[in-house]
Symmetry: C2
């Protein structure tokens, strides 16, 4: 790669089921030229997140899909190389949404300047960025954990789950995490300080979860779906709250789901236990919670009250394999590509 070309990864085809490397294509293109009010960015870090699986599908969702041949979308931390906007100058480090490419010409309006002295810039893609805000806003607005209550969250070693459990504990609740494999489980318990951790690969997972929640579950932060749901479902207390921010276990599913039909039992328990189930996308809460998040979470991270883990992959060309692995739980911490 030379600095006179833009290296980028486009969506080559839509996946059927789990994505494969063939769904992506690495291309080289001329360096983009700048318009008024734009800046030229050189990507330093690209965030990889589960929602990207949705953008690869044509199915209707809360956001438009990436078109075939378009650059894959994604949040980035980038350096300003050239600027035609008074607010930015070369060398500035910014948070952008410039996607899977080495360079991009973008409107200065959508950028947020980062202070590398205040926190490592990669945190703007993780604990102090979209995943951290997803945890903060969904948990506090919908989940509303109270002292003495029990919260359960899966993917507890990931950027959302780890923040959810730690914030719940700051609010006085017990945090029970679910993670995959002994290494992640140990980290969730020891570094993130969860009260209990269950390995979702354990054949006794449901029994162990029940034992870890002797008083039932008051908040289940749903970010995975799949077989974890079946273990959690019987344990809901009356008035339990279930924020739904992700269903990574079913993103690759195709076709109809075989029976039995679990919907009537869910509806029965929604009624008999006065459950609240509420789906959300974090941007809904930006106007009401964004400022509080930046202040409070930055302070918590600075104080060490909230800890985080990053999983950094080198090289844009490795982004497709890294995303495929993410959808299978192979990452360990916030997955970021160093471009």
């Amino acid at each position: 790669m030379t600095e006179t070309e833009n290296t980028r990864i486009v969506l080559a085809s839509r996946p059927e089921g789990r994505p494969t490397p063939a769904n992506f294509r690495l291309e080289r293109a001329p360096m983009p030229s700048l318009g008024d009010g734009q800046v030229l960015l050189k990507t330093l870090y690209l965030s990889l997140d589960p929602y990207m699986r949705g953008r690869m599908s044509a199915a209707k969702s809360y956001a438009a899909p990436v078109e075939i041949g378009q650059v894959m979308e994604g949040g980035t931390v980038a350096e300003v190389v050239e600027s035609r906007d008074a607010a930015f100058k070369p060398g500035d480090i910014v948070l952008s949404y410039s996607g899977w490419q080495s360079h991009a010409a973008v409107s200065a309006k959508g950028l947020r300047k980062l202070d590398p002295q205040a926190a490592p810039v990669t945190t703007a893609l993780g604990v102090l960025g979209m995943p951290g805000f997803t945890a903060y806003a969904g948990l506090l607005t919908i989940g509303q954990p109270k002292p003495g209550e029990t919260l359960v969250v899966a993917a507890a070693s990931g950027p959302v789950g780890s923040a959810v459990g730690q914030i719940a504990r700051l609010k006085g609740a017990r945090a029970v995490g679910i993670a995959g494999g002994p290494e992640k489980c140990a980290f969730v318990r020891e570094t993130f300080g969860f009260d209990e951790v269950i390995d979702h690969r354990d054949p006794q997972m449901a029994d162990k979860l029940a034992a870890a929640c002797p008083g039932g579950i008051d908040v289940y932060f749903e970010n995975v779906g799949g077989h974890v749901w079946d273990a959690v479902f019987p344990l809901f207390n009356s008035f339990a709250r279930i924020p739904v921010c992700g269903l990574v276990a079913q993103y690759n599913a195709t076709g109809a789901f075989p029976g039995p039909d679990r919907l009537p039992l869910l509806m029965r328990d929604i009624l008999s236990k006065s459950l609240t189930i509420r789906g959300f996308i974090q941007r809904e809460f930006v106007p009401t919670q964004g400022k509080a998040f930046q202040e409070e979470m930055t302070r918590w991270v600075a104080e060490g009250a909230i800890r985080y883990k990053e999983d950094i992959v080198e090289g844009l060309e490795n982004a497709p394999e890294a995303l495929i692995g993410l959808l299978e739980g192979k990452n360990f911490g916030k997955l970021i590509v160093k471009v």
Copy 2:
């Protein structure tokens, strides 16, 4: 029946699937004797409601089941025959929860005196009672209909559904009702003033519902479940709210439900459309909404802004058949037994 005996209907056995007359037994017992602070009631009217199916089952729910041999529970309007409490005197008409029997000795504490001049006393079991409050509190607290939005409610000729649609219209929303058969549908449109009504027995129900909701559904007040859900589900708008107060279509179900499994698709739409599903039992809202309901709903009924329909069955001995019919949608309006 003489005034020296209490006639009552007890739960003889628990139903498997739909209840039958053999699940009930009519008994005569000595007139109950009074303790201090109690009053002797003579039942005038007994309310029959879908929740009673739940009380006949041993399955865990939000309320304890009626035990075998116990008098069936239910709300009543009764006349005070004898009083050992200073606040009540013979001839007073009260709202009680004295169940399926001609007489009862109850604590005066649980009684509310009714003013027969203010409204027909039967309304305390319907539009101005528990069903009306279920509609009011669930719709306004969870459903939150806004001007121009579309609300859908089933059992629209019943006491909850008819109030839900009319209150939604008072709040500026469009009300689309679902009811069973041409007579009920005409009544919902003409007397209750719904904007559109669909017959759930119509084989084209789903298509007709979609046509009646060209802008999608913003609030679905769930009180039936069953096949209505499948017609409603594809029409939800983003941020739709779904208060769940009843599932009468599945109360008689036994065993597992055959596939396909509809849960993953529901979870997918909860996420992609940011849906809110919230079960509730009206009593949760009594402390916060009870007073506003009594004032506002009494005024709406007095002004004719809210209309209601009662279906009065004569004779306590006919209560079992009437409840069995209610669970099949055979009643037409608020079902009340004149004892």
